[in-house]
């Protein structure tokens, strides 16, 4: 049975993030700095605005972010 959260996720994939976001090219350019700032516990949203929103809206960039984060944490 489809539940509310599943529907919410499907709607989220369709409608994407509400906030302003960067595109895939800027995301790739900034990804290394973003992940190092994250690992240093810095306020990444303030330092690189729009990238977190892009990661929420773009599954491919999200995967690449998660992999870089995992690799640097390994």
């Amino acid at each position: 049975m489809t539940d509310r959260s599943e529907i919410g996720q499907a709607l989220g994939r369709l409608l994407g993030p509400a906030e302003p976001e960067v595109g895939c090219d800027v995301c790739f350019d900034e990804l290394d700095r973003y992940v190092e700032l994250e690992l240093a516990g810095r306020d990444v949203d303030a330092e690189i605005p729009g990238l977190r929103a892009h990661l929420a809206g773009c599954p491919a960039c999200r995967e690449e972010h998660d992999s870089l984060y995992a690799l640097l944490s390994a």
């Binding site: 049975m1 489809t2 539940d3 509310r4 599943e6 529907i7 919410g8 499907a10 709607l11 989220g12 994939r13 369709l14 409608l15 994407g16 993030p17 509400a18 976001e21 595109g23 895939c24 090219d25 790739f28 900034e30 990804l31 290394d32 700095r33 992940v35 190092e36 929420a56 809206g57 773009c58 599954p59 491919a60 995967e63 690449e64 992999s67 870089l68 995992a70 690799l71 640097l72 390994a74």
Partner: protein, 232 residues
């Protein structure tokens, strides 16, 4: 007329002395050493490229081991071939873009992302190789009212119906195809880019525009989206 064209001595001499652009952040020693050796000649450069390739092969293998469970049909040697290709392509990308490295991160972090990207793209393409890329909604089930349990609130049913209407009416055919492929059918963006002979950045722009239109369409019809859809 700009202030510099007014003609008085005062106007053409800036009150604050012009300063050169701030120097780039100093590279950490290890990053500096990577750049120095990769830009050197002969044996020093060859050795640095070999070290870089080894580093990137490790990153490509890391990516592949993370995604192994989604690639069960691939044998170990096929996965190793993908890792080798990804490492070779990433090494070339890094060497080509060496001047783009500004020291905003460690050199190795910057280089890793090329290997992770190459490996991820190759795995996604391999997973979709020979499969038709669906541009029409064949998985609207989740949005049909029969798929909703009895608990689904009527407001949510209304929102779902409105979303379907908006997809059908508010978007151009291209926007609709891209949105459906990426956001409903789960086609990876680089796979779709290859099939449509475009690139990832352009496709994401289309997806982004389509999403803006959907949101605007729904807001016009009185749906409050902000409080409902932000949670990931």
């Amino acid at each position: 007329m700009s202030i510099l064209e007014v003609g008085t001595v005062k106007a053409v001499e800036p009150a604050v002395p012009l300063v050169a652009a701030p120097p780039p952040p100093p590279f950490d020693l290890e990053s500096h050493e990577w750049l120095r050796t990769l830009r050197a000649d002969g044996a020093t450069r060859d050795a640095a490229i070999a070290r870089l390739h080894t580093l990137l092969l490790g990153a490509a293998r890391f990516e592949i081991s993370r995604r192994r469970h989604t690639m069960r049909h691939l044998r170990g040697n096929e996965l190793e071939d993908i890792a080798a290709e990804a490492a070779a392509d990433a090494t070339l990308s890094v060497l080509r873009r060496l001047d783009d490295f500004r020291g905003a991160s460690r050199f190795t972090t910057w280089a890793y992302k090329f290997a992770l990207l190459e490996a991820a793209v190759k795995l996604r393409k391999r997973a979709w190789q020979g499969r038709e890329v669906p541009l029409e909604p064949d998985d609207w089930d989740i949005f049909s009212s029969t798929a909703l349990g009895p608990d689904a609130a009527s407001e949510q049913r209304e929102l779902l119906a409105a979303v379907q209407t908006a997809v059908a009416e508010a978007l151009t055919p291209h926007q609709r195809s891209v949105l459906v492929a990426l956001a409903v059918n789960g086609v990876p963006i680089d796979v779709l880019a290859e099939r449509l002979s475009t690139n990832r950045g352009a496709l994401y722009k289309t997806l982004h525009d389509a999403r803006r239109k959907l949101r605007a369409h729904l807001v016009e019809r009185g749906f409050a989206l902000a409080d409902r859809l932000e949670a990931e």
